[in-house]
């Protein structure tokens, strides 16, 4: 690994300054589980690393019934899935946080880092898109917000300009009659990168029998995580049954434009989109109806 200057600012302002000074020669580090790996193989070679774990806003993890959930950019997956509010109100976030790597990775890796790493197969992003989450960004020109589905621009690339960093993720207050679920397909049971990932969020009406709205998002089937807007929209007003869900799953396949690589062929991935969207929607529906759907930690 090439040596670098390590900095650990205590305030957001200081962090922005340290980043802006070096432009694209500086990188933000939270958990480091992506950054260190990439630096070690010389894919990224920053002059300066800005460790954000000492900045209070980055470690914030708060839920209020008025504003919803705020996850600071440096909050680890483990803190996320051990938080009672999140477990109860945002179980799909637990779905995602509990399957990024193993326990050791989850003790360090942050949701914010997963978003900023901007891999097309990131496990956090489809869930955040499904929930309609927002990125809160700070930079030399001040603060701004970007919906998560507009954050990634390409594999490993996003809208952050030099000097900007993600401060927190904002997830709206969970609505009555809503439920969400994240699922992915991997060849083993743990420790793999998603071959396909699906996050689904639904709001049900008519005593849980009608889709008021749905948001379906896909990972690992395009250069960026995808919000399957058409498949999502077509569920509005539809009754909740196997047919409507199957149709949505079929429609979601058209939103996918996967490649063939060592983790899966394009055909296999497209097929899996159909299967996982169906399963994720079913899980979201169950949760919307108040039924339990176990995550990876809980026994089935």
């Amino acid at each position: 690994m090439r040596d670098f200057e390590y900095t650990a600012p205590g305030t957001l302002r200081e962090a922005v300054k340290l980043l802006a000074e070096k432009g694209d020669r500086a990188r933000v580090m939270a958990g480091g589980t992506d950054l260190i790996v990439q630096m070690r193989v010389n894919r990224i070679q920053p002059d300066r690393v800005v460790d954000i774990k000492n900045i209070p806003e980055m470690n914030e993890l708060t839920f209020t019934p008025r504003t919803g959930l705020r996850i600071g950019a440096a909050v680890s997956c483990r803190r996320i899935y051990e938080d009672a509010d999140i477990v109860q109100r945002y179980p799909a976030i637990v779905d995602s946080a509990a399957i990024i790597g193993g326990i050791q990775i989850q003790g360090r890796a942050s949701f914010g880092g997963n978003v900023c790493n901007s891999s097309p197969s990131a496990d956090s992003i489809p869930t955040l898109i499904a929930y309609g989450a927002t990125c809160e960004i700070a930079g030399p020109d001040g603060k701004r917000r970007v919906p998560v589905e507009e954050f990634c621009t390409g594999p490993g690339a996003n809208v952050l300009s030099p000097g900007e960093l993600l401060v927190s993720l904002r997830i709206p207050l969970n609505r009555k009659g809503s439920g969400a679920h994240y699922l992915r397909f991997i060849p083993r049971n743990e420790m793999d990168i998603a071959v396909v990932g699906v996050g689904a969020y639904v709001e049900l009406g008519g005593r849980g029998k009608v889709f008021k709205m749905a948001r379906i998002s896909l990972a690992a089937v395009a250069p960026i995580p995808v919000f399957a807007s058409e498949a999502s929209a077509q569920l509005s007003g539809q009754p909740v049954n196997d047919d409507t869900i199957a149709q949505a799953a079929e429609a979601a396949k058209s939103a996918a434009r996967p490649i063939s690589d060592m983790r899966g062929t394009a055909e296999f991935r497209t097929h899996l989109v159909g299967v996982l969207v169906k399963r994720a929607l079913n899980g979201a529906v169950k949760r919307a109806r108040g039924e339990k759907v176990a995550n990876a930690i809980e026994e089935a």
Partner: protein, 771 residues
Amino acid sequence: MSSSHGEIRNFGGGDFKVVGTRPIRHDGTDKVTGRAVYGGDTRLPGLLYGQILRSPHAHARIRSIDTSKAAALPGVKSVVTAADLPPTGRDEMVDLGEGPARLKFMRDNILATDKALYRGHAVAGVAATSLHIAEEALSLIEVDYEVLPPVVTVLEAMKEDAPLLHEDLTTMELGEDSGTKSNTASHMQHSLGDAERGMADAHLTAVFEVHTASVHQGYIEPQNATAEWSPDGRLTIWTSTQGAFTAQRQLGAILGLPVARVKVVPQEIGGGFGGKIPVYLEPVAALLSRRTGRPVKLVMTRADVFEGTGPTPGSYIRVKMGVDSSGKLVAADAYIAFESGGYPGSPVFAAAMCVFACYDIPNCLVNFYDVVVNKPRSFAYRAPGSTHVAFAVEKVMDELAANLGVDALELRIQNAAAEGTRRSDGIVYPRIGCKECLEVARDHDHFKAPLGGPNRGRGVAIGYWFNIGFKSSVTASVNNDGSVNLVEGSTDIGGTRTSIAMQFAETLGLAAEDINPSVGDTSSIGYTDVTGGSRVTYATGWAAYEAAQDVKAQMLKRVAMVWEVEEDEVEYADGKFRHKTDASKSLNFKELAGKMGDTGGPVVGNGSVDPAAGVGGSFCVNIVDLEVDPETGKVDILRYTVIQDAGKAIHPSYVEGQMQGGSVQGIGWGLNEEYFYTDEGRMANSSFLDYRIPTTLDLPMIDTVIVEVPNPGHPFGVRGVGEASIAPPPAAISCAIKNAVGVQLCVLPMRPDRILAALDDARAQEPVAAG
């Protein structure tokens, strides 16, 4: 939680006091506290850190290497290339105990000379004051490559117009040099009876073709080596190796040194499975130490381990077998082609020995091919070749059973190899446990348990490994308090120093805790062959038995001295030295040991063996239940049982461990593991992220049954047990998948996308419903 103890089914053999018990291993405390020193833990004053530059191209001519910029980097102390090795004559041969080998091939694999033959092929080595500086230096070495088209599969490499890896490699055709330049290094054949005739006369035949991918041993500890070339010209190497003496001989040949000047000190080793028998880093560390006058340590990165060591070959295998109307096998034919990697010498010969080894077949023909391809030079991986051939043969057996309308396990029992059966390569079996293992499987709860539910299936398969004997030495020094220091030469990968100590203790009526075993280096113990081939508990255990007999004989002389009687008046039984007629004269081992000083001084016993015959092969049967997700192709292993003949389990916990470990490697091989190659011959998944070995979450408990059909060729009946367990799992899993969802997978690994594709094909071929 229930105990770890598995089942033991005994078919004869003695009752023992120590053998068959489960003492805590002697090196246990060191290993659970982090005190044990593995090769990568070696620390010496003034140590330099090294790293290797590897070819990024799968096939390239090396025009020149300029190391000057790297050498000039502050902190770099030396850069070496193949030019620093002795020059090699083109046809220079060397024999390290396994037959003649081309020295150029051996040296070139350490540091490439004219060509890089695989991506990952070592090209240069650097030593620096820190590992980071050594890594930086690698990027400053300038290599001028002429990139050549690579050939990466065995069938491609065998074609007439394939790019040739070696300009001077000609095919050895059935033992004679054909003079034909080719990537096929050799074509060999075993022929028994008349297979063509037998097949023509058969009532029923079945045939399968399979393809397998390169697969790595996957040991968690990367290769490592620390070298110190002292001013008096002596070389000391500390390394994690499966054979200190084998490493010493290789080093002597590669560096052009007499072995007397090379001392190899084996450190603890973090897994090998065959892959740590060849040297890789040791000679480079030696060269760097010689140039710098300081000790140098090299440790491979995980990517280097995948790309620069010796995975098991990918292969193409075709097997056809025929039965008569009663279900008796009458003929078998196999075509086996192995990818040996950049240099010839794959374990295809071992595959040929194993292919029909489980069955009694009067007419066999096996044609086998060793083919070079632009991949790392393959090497042994646990029962090398046996897993590949079992995958094909067991499918054929299942198909024959289905077509005959008989139970697949019963067909195997009917045709099981037994004492007196002649294997396809001519060996006649002594007493073996093949049928016993199959019958234990048939009678096992798992086989009889109902398996309900959709997409669930059960599979059974059998595999084999012949095991080896070879040389081992043991020295035993009796201490005054009756404890014994036991020095042996087999590096301990899995608890063998204890199983060796137990055999010694049993012979002398001592307790395992009375023995203090240690692994010697090449200066402190007699020559001992590798820890591999499932030979250590068998051969080194036998050497310990001989050493114990030697100690006993000396002690009998001593007790006769103490009692001032003739030697033929005394005996040793039940842990006591006794006078045959005078019951008042009795001393136990500890008491007599206290009298060594008065009777001639220390008692030191020796044992040295090279069992030419008597090595017993081991058979292993698997029963697996699994469930297939028909929408994704994902396989979940529900239940797994391993039944293996160990002859006599010296320490049953470690025998069970071998059975479980080999099975899980086989499961990974069957379901997920492969070298994923691009068209340019680059391994795309050289990390544990995408080279997917099983995790705790992918498996259930692995139930074991140790079958004990004693090996008449060993004092305690031991058969090597370390390897055969890896042979049947892919075959058993493939059988279970067929029974679960009706599709036959003929390519390894049986990945979810392949299972799904097979299901799609099957659905497409379903006849349209009437009406």
